[in-house]
């Protein structure tokens, strides 16, 4: 058995353990857990959307614990300033001499929880852009490289819109996945209550570490993808564009802007991880179909007609899949 073979087996086993361990802290939400793991191993950022109290923050905390990564939390508020996130130069007195030294902000971590990201002003939100895409932070004339692995998990509340600043398209595009957290079922709710109000609590244990996560990310990148599967993924992206000739009628009627190339990258990267999670060494059509919704939903900008008729991005994607098949 070769090293790679062993590594693959180990990775598959580790992913399974990570999933089980996170499951101890988060009841239900299996799909959200899987998709978050996929996003993390794809090296991408996740936007979690859901009403308060669904365990968004808990999920991120648990992930931090399980992955044994440095975790920081930023609570976004309207008065939060960029310097509060990235850090600032402060005057320090060293050996009787006053000098400027950089005080790192919470962004310098492996997992950053940007809680209620839409409450901060666009100026502050934009402070996250470079970190999310370039994995670096520039303060003054100095650029600081962020430590790998690095990913931002942001949350936002979809119902309480007063005093919020919706994320601009450019910011949204930086998120690999946008995941909608649904309300738990009766059984799940009972289990949550029992777990959180009882005496005994399962202790969350670390399953892996930083180094292993980087190895897993690199291994996922090696999973081959056949041309028909790649073509299928590209078609999905092209069909979200109303100006594209072959696009289905629903796209032409309800879509204002289609997905950016980042959407295609997101699908391919995430589908590779999905295949690996399944213990498969190639990407299948079903992997693409699994990741296409969280990868494209926030990248398709609908027009007024769609909003007025209650058409969602999910409807558009479903129709595109039907059209291609």
């Amino acid at each position: 058995m070769s090293n790679l073979e062993l590594q693959i087996e180990k990775t598959i086993e580790k992913i399974k353990k990570i999933r089980d361990e996170i499951g101890k802290g988060i009841i239900g939400q299996k799909e959200i857990i899987d998709k978050t793991i996929i996003a993390i191993l794809s090296g991408g950022n996740v936007l979690l959307e859901g009403v308060p109290g669904l365990g968004k923050t808990q999920l991120v905390k648990t992930i931090g614990q399980v992955l044994d990564l440095e975790f920081s939390r930023i609570q976004f508020t309207p008065d939060l300033m960029p310097a509060d996130i990235v850090g600032t130069n402060i005057i320090t007195n060293e050996k009787g001499k006053s000098t400027f030294s950089f005080q790192r902000g919470p962004i310098f971590s492996n997992i950053v929880l940007a809680d209620e990201i839409n409450r901060a002003t666009p100026k502050t939100q934009s402070a996250m852009l470079e970190a999310m895409q370039e994995k670096s932070v520039t303060v003054g004339n100095k650029t600081y490289k962020l430590e790998e692995p690095y990913f931002v998990i942001a949350t936002q509340n979809p119902i309480e819109m007063e005093g919020t600043y919706p994320l601009p398209e450019a910011q949204m595009d930086r998120f690999l996945f946008k995941l909608d957290i649904k309300f738990p079922s009766k059984d799940e709710l009972t289990e949550i209550v029992n777990l959180t109000t009882g005496k005994e609590k399962d202790r969350i244990e670390k399953v892996t570490d930083r180094k292993e996560i980087i190895e897993m990310i690199n291994l996922a990148k090696e999973i081959p993808i056949a041309k028909p599967v790649m073509d299928y993924a590209m078609k999905l992206i092209l069909f979200t564009h109303p100006e594209n000739e072959g696009s289905p009628e629903i796209t032409k009627k309800y879509v204002r802007f289609g997905s950016s190339p980042r959407g295609a990258q997101a699908i391919v990267k995430a589908s590779r991880v999905k295949a690996l999670m399944e213990g498969r060494l190639n990407v299948a059509f079903e992997d693409i179909n699994y990741v296409v919704y969280p990868a494209l939903c926030h990248r398709i900008i609908l027009n007024f007609e769609a909003v007025s008729e209650g058409i969602t991005s999910k409807d558009i994607i479903s129709e595109i899949i039907n059209e291609i098949n």
Binding site: P224, K227, P228, R280, L281, N282, V283, F285
Partner: protein, 517 residues
């Protein structure tokens, strides 16, 4: 090794997919064929379509071939096979492995091994069914059944098509006969090289016309032309022979008058002269008979025609041997008359020529019949090209105009010296153009026997005369050409079935061939 293994497992799957497609395309081809056949079958009930079943069979072969060809064209590639197999739950393992066939990296190797493992386990026979599509098969069956049922509907068009088919087959036979005649002509010693060439050219032209036949009337025209040409050649040869024989006979006093009548082709005069000669013989004394016998023997040795020579020699022997047997002399003289008459009628000129005349005549009749059939069914307007009759009264032949009943078959029918030796080319009249004539319903049918009772005679017996009752004289007005054709057909049947002298047969044939319709 891994690649080889991969293809080893893919090969039988590929073959099965190919087989499935072949069966499917053949099923579709059968449906298309049955649709086309049904359409043809329905059309054939209204418009005469010749060789319908052959055409349907040809269509079947064509569609079968197209089905096989199309399935070969659509034979699956390995990539296509891989995608089909993947769709059976292999989750794009095979197509990826196929793409990685030239990749030697560790991950590619592991992926290929994984794909082969799954390929081994798959039951592709269950996933790739080679059963033909039931709906298509049922549809084809219904269409074929409908076609068969339609084929049992008898219509005039269908019967006409069958008659045309028979004519076409007959024309083909005639073509073969022409080829045989060409060989006979080649071997014929009685014809000169130029005559042979001319006849061969005419026959070849006719043959080509048959090969490139588009319309029966064209073949008819060509057959008439060829027949005329051969008749002309035959007439020339006959004339030459008669003149030569007349010259030979004219060299002797006893047969001089005979020679004149022969030269003039005067059958009546010839017969009268023979009777006179017989009388003359009876009146001669022994010495004269002896002298005549000697001269006749000398004459017979000079005459080229073996039959005439033989007859004359017989006469000479008879008169020198036993002059008292007048029956034998009369018999010999009758033989002479018959032999000369036959020569005048053109018999035994050349076997090849006679055959050529008979074949072209037959062909002409067959195609005329086909034209008439076509005309009576097409019901087209008469605005088409109407060929004028070039034979009959308009002929500029060499008729000598005796008009006797011996009826040479070379067109000596004119009574005024402008007799037509040209045969008539049927005009392209349509049914509406032909004058309608009354045709009794018993035309072409056998009558029934019935006895006519007479009155009682003195002895108490009764005379009963048996006659053929032809039924009631009922009938209808039908186009002239149809009536002619019925009569013609009956006459030809009579010729074939009964003992009729050869010369009379020709007269009957000539009559119907030249009759304008």
């Amino acid at each position: 090794m891994l690649e080889k293994n991969l293809f080893k497992y893919l090969k039988p799957i590929r073959f099965r997919i190919y087989l499935k497609r072949l069966i499917h395309y053949l099923s579709y081809a059968t449906t298309l064929w049955s649709i086309m056949s049904l359409i043809l079958m329905i059309i054939s009930r209204f418009i005469p379509i010749t060789f319908l079943f052959e055409k349907i069979m040809l269509l079947a072969l064509m569609f079968l071939f197209l089905g096989i060809l199309y399935s070969f064209y659509k034979r699956p590639s390995y990539r296509e096979v891989a995608l089909i197999v993947d769709s059976m739950g292999l989750k794009e393992r095979v197509v990826t492995a196929l793409e990685l066939s030239k990749d030697n990296s560790v991950i590619a190797k592991l992926q290929k091994e994984d794909a082969i493992e799954y390929l081994k386990k798959i039951n592709y026979k269950e996933g790739i069914s080679i059963k033909p599509p039931v709906t298509i098969v049922l549809l084809s069956f219904v269409l074929i059944l409908t076609g068969v049922l339609v084929s049992f509907i008898p219509t005039k068009s269908y019967i006409t098509a069958q008659e045309i088919e028979e004519n076409l087959e007959e024309i083909e036979d005639k073509k073969k006969e022409i080829e045989k005649v060409e060989k006979l002509i080649e071997k014929d010693n009685l014809l000169t090289k130029e005559e042979k060439e001319e006849i061969k050219r005419a026959l070849e032209r006719l043959r080509k016309k048959i090969d490139n036949q588009k319309e029966f009337k064209d073949i008819t025209k060509e057959a008439i032309k060829t027949n005329k040409k051969i008749n002309e050649i035959a007439k020339e040869i006959q004339d030459k022979k008669i003149k030569k024989l007349a010259k030979e006979l004219g060299s002797e006093e006893f047969t001089r008058n005979l020679s004149k009548h022969l030269n003039n082709k005067d059958y009546k005069g010839l017969m009268e002269e023979i009777a006179k000669m017989e009388e003359q013989l009876k009146r001669m004394d022994k010495e004269e008979i002896k002298e005549l016998s000697k001269k006749l023997k000398e004459l017979s040795s000079r005459i080229e025609n073996p039959k005439v020579s033989n007859v004359l020699n017989n006469i000479a022997s008879t008169i020198s041997g036993n002059m008292s047997d007048s029956t034998l002399i009369s018999q010999n003289m009758n033989n002479l008359g018959e032999t000369l008459s036959n020569i005048m009628n053109g018999e035994n000129i050349s076997v090849g020529l006679n055959k050529a005349i008979s074949v072209t005549e037959g062909l002409k009749n067959t195609t005329s019949e086909a034209v008439a059939l076509g005309n009576s069914n097409s019901n087209q307007s008469s605005s088409g090209n109407q060929n004028s009759s070039t034979g009959g009264n308009n002929g500029q032949g060499e008729g000598t105009g005796n008009g006797t009943s011996n009826g040479s078959n070379y067109g000596n029918s004119g009574s005024t010296g402008q007799g037509g030796n040209g045969a008539s080319i049927p005009s392209e009249k349509t049914v509406e153009n032909y004058e309608k004539v009354f045709a009794p319903s018993n035309l072409g049918v056998e009558g029934k026997e019935s006895g006519l009772k007479g009155t009682l005679n003195k002895s108490g017996s009764e005379d009963i005369i048996k006659v053929k009752k032809m039924g009631d004289i009922t009938g209808e007005s039908v186009p002239y050409n149809e009536v002619i054709n019925t009569y013609k057909k009956q006459a030809y049947e009579e010729i074939d079935s009964k003992v009729i002298p050869e010369s009379m047969k020709e007269i009957v044939k000539k009559y119907f061939a030249e009759i304008a319709y």
